[in-house]
């Protein structure tokens, strides 16, 4: 059911939600940017609706609430292990259509690829989703090409209007009652979505892993600095590494945690004894790009990349993932000719 809601009412309803939930949304971290006197827009806990940033894309995605950057799995003392506690509070996450499509990818990775992940599922069970409408496309977005520009599997949608009021489409029965009880005007609402982006990406129909043999990847050997920013901002990247630590050198207590990992960063493939794969940055780029638009689909039936364009937004070397994907057609031709 749709509602037209003003800021005061929305904040009052937020207050009732906050007794049980933390609300997470893209917000501003003043002076939180890499460069001095710059802000960072990224996900964080918010108290009021005004804090939610609607007019800019968040630099990092929402994924950190489901796959925390650093997540303690269990604690150990000599010989004993104790599972890390379940977070006490549930989460309401505000996200855009691309990110909601990314959530499906996280689900498929953590719940379906091999046995279901205990730590992911216990967070996943306790979230509600608020879809933020997109009135216009942002720089580097290519959601339309990836088919992720529309979503309907939300608990509520929200569009901020120019006058500071909100259009809301509510699917959650309890929330719907709250909006109705607050006297919000009912009206037909459907969340806004974009129908075109300035960037169009075409994944070649005939793309195969043979594209790995193209010379195009060599460009990235020197252009890429293997910093991993593209992976960390990506809402669909899920890799992690295990870490064991003791709280002090002589202490007997410690923990095992898992921490985000990046296939672009040194050490990702290092095995004990010294072996590693993909030493060149171009080969790491190839591994990442083909995962996003080829081999994930071979395994799961749909593309991994959701076209949010955050990887392009953040790359300090101005390497464009979307442009790279658009080069794949030539790469296929090149490889076929060489055969």
């Amino acid at each position: 059911m749709g509602f037209h809601v003003n800021n005061t009412v929305l904040n009052t309803i937020f207050e009732t939600w906050q007794t049980e939930y933390n609300i997470y949304a893209p917000r501003k971290y003043p002076d939180g940017g890499r460069f001095s006197d710059t802000d960072c827009i990224r996900y964080g806990k918010i108290d009021t609706a005004e804090e939610i940033i609607f007019d800019k894309k968040s630099e990092y995605s929402f994924k950190e609430f489901l796959t925390p950057v650093s997540q303690t799995l269990f604690f150990f003392t000599e010989g004993e292990t104790k599972e890390a506690d379940i977070p006490q509070r549930k989460a309401i996450i505000f996200l855009r259509s691309c990110d909601l499509h990314a959530l499906k990818r996280l689900d498929d990775m953590y719940l379906c690829n091999g046995p279901a992940d205990y730590y992911y599922s216990r967070l996943r069970e306790n979230i509600k989703i608020v879809l933020m409408g997109c009135e216009h496309s942002f720089e580097n977005c290519f959601c339309v090409s990836m088919g992720t520009n529309r979503s309907s599997n939300y608990d509520m949608s929200i569009d901020r209007q120019a006058d500071g009021t909100y259009l809301i489409d509510c699917k959650d029965a309890d929330w719907e009652k709250q909006f109705a009880a607050a006297g919000c005007v009912q009206q037909e609402v459907s969340p806004s979505y974009v129908t075109e982006n300035s960037i169009t990406v075409t994944v070649p129909e005939n793309l195969t892993a043979e594209a790995a043999g193209s010379k195009m990847w060599d460009d990235y050997d020197s252009r890429c600095i293997n910093c991993g920013r593209c992976n960390f901002v990506c809402p669909t990247c899920t890799c992690f590494t295990m870490q064991d630590l003791f709280y002090s050198e002589n202490g007997k207590a410690g923990e095992r945690r898992r921490v985000w990992a990046s296939c672009m960063v040194d050490g990702f493939t290092d095995v004990a004894g010294g072996g590693s794969c993909r030493q060149k940055n171009g080969q790491r780029m190839r591994f990442k790009v083909l995962h996003k638009v080829l081999d994930y689909k071979q395994r799961n039936g749909y593309h991994m990349c959701v076209g949010c364009g955050r990887c392009d937004d953040i790359c300090p070397e101005y390497i464009s993932f979307s442009n790279c994907v658009n080069r794949l057609q030539d790469a296929i031709m090149e490889v076929k000719q060489n055969d």
């Binding site: 001095s36 950057v69 870490q243």
Partner: protein, 320 residues
């Protein structure tokens, strides 16, 4: 021709090697100006000078080839620049009221440069407002970060931007980028302990390389801006030397106060027979001893808690 060279120099004109010809010296605090003022400089050079302009080593402009008699007209023509660059003035259309305290120079700062830890031009202008006009020979320079592109250590007061890096440990992905950058580009103040960077507060110079290189915004800049203040670097015939660190993690207000206090100190102790009333402050400090300088400089100054004051200070330098 009868002309008071002392008054002419104080008015920011120069006695040149060509009799009767002077050069007008334009100050650009912080070295950044709206492009439209270049047109005004061009007009003055073409109307009153020989049609050339020298870009000075202190980020000002010098318009040579001006006949002495044109000085009043040039001063009038400079009014737009003086107003536009917000230079403190004593007499409208009278040109610059002093030249002893030199133009305050700055690197491009955080308006453009990713390394800079603050807006160097804005701080330079703030200092200019506080110290100018003044006849004492003070050289002040500001640089955005410890790369020191402005070479602040060649100045009486060198101001170097610092940021106090903040680590949100739970955002750290143990990629090692900060440790590597600090080691390769800076002072090796970070090491990895339990998979996460540990910062050696004593070593850290606040350059911000850790923040710049962190791929996951685990390192961020401090909201408060900090500065390293270096003292009494100088070039010159007698005894050139590089400025030495005085305060690490200083704040803006303290720095301005210290500079103003130093004017008082110099007024008290300058050699009355110094040629042209110019004496490098360092020579004065050599005479009075550093502790006396410090007593004057830190009068009514409240430094941030983390500030480190180096004392005593020793300068090295070439001696002839």
């Amino acid at each position: 021709m009868d002309i008071n060279t002392k008054a002419l120099k104080k008015n920011a004109f120069r006695i040149t090697k060509e009799r009767g010809l002077t050069a007008s010296r334009i100050r650009v605090p912080g070295g950044h100006l709206d492009a439209k003022y270049l047109g005004e400089i061009q007009r003055i050079a073409e109307t009153f000078g020989n049609g050339t302009v020298h870009i000075t080593s202190r980020q000002g402009f010098e318009i040579p080839g001006i006949p002495f008699e044109k000085i009043p007209e040039v001063n009038k023509a400079l009014q737009g620049l003086i107003d536009g660059l917000e230079i403190n003035q004593e007499e409208l259309n009278g040109g610059y009221p002093a030249s002893g305290t030199r133009n305050i120079t700055a690197c491009i700062g955080n308006r453009v440069c990713p390394f800079a830890c603050y807006d160097t031009t804005s701080f330079a202008k703030k200092i200019e407002k506080a110290v100018f006009p003044n006849d004492l020979h003070f050289k002040i320079a500001l640089t955005g970060c410890p790369n020191d592109c402005v070479k602040v250590r060649m100045h009486d007061f060198g101001i170097m931007g610092m940021t106090l890096p903040q680590l949100e440990t739970d955002r750290c992905v143990s990629c090692g980028a900060c440790v590597k950058a600090c080691k390769k580009k800076s002072v090796e103040a970070l090491k990895s302990v339990n998979y996460r960077p540990q910062r050696d507060e004593r070593r850290c110079i606040g350059c911000g390389e850790c923040v710049l290189n962190c791929p996951n915004a685990a390192w961020t800049r401090s909201k408060t801006k900090y500065y390293r203040l270096t003292l009494f670097g100088r070039t010159g015939k007698k005894n050139p030397r590089l400025g030495e660190d005085f305060i690490k993690w200083a704040d803006e207000d303290s720095i301005i106060k210290i500079i103003l206090n130093t004017y008082d100190y110099v007024k008290e102790y300058i050699d009355p027979s110094a040629p042209g009333g110019k004496e490098h402050i360092g020579y004065i400090v050599d005479r009075t001893g550093f502790e006396e300088f410090k007593r004057w400089a830190l009068r009514d100054v409240t430094l941030p808690e983390i500030a480190e004051v180096m004392t005593p200070m020793y300068w090295k330098g070439i001696k002839y």
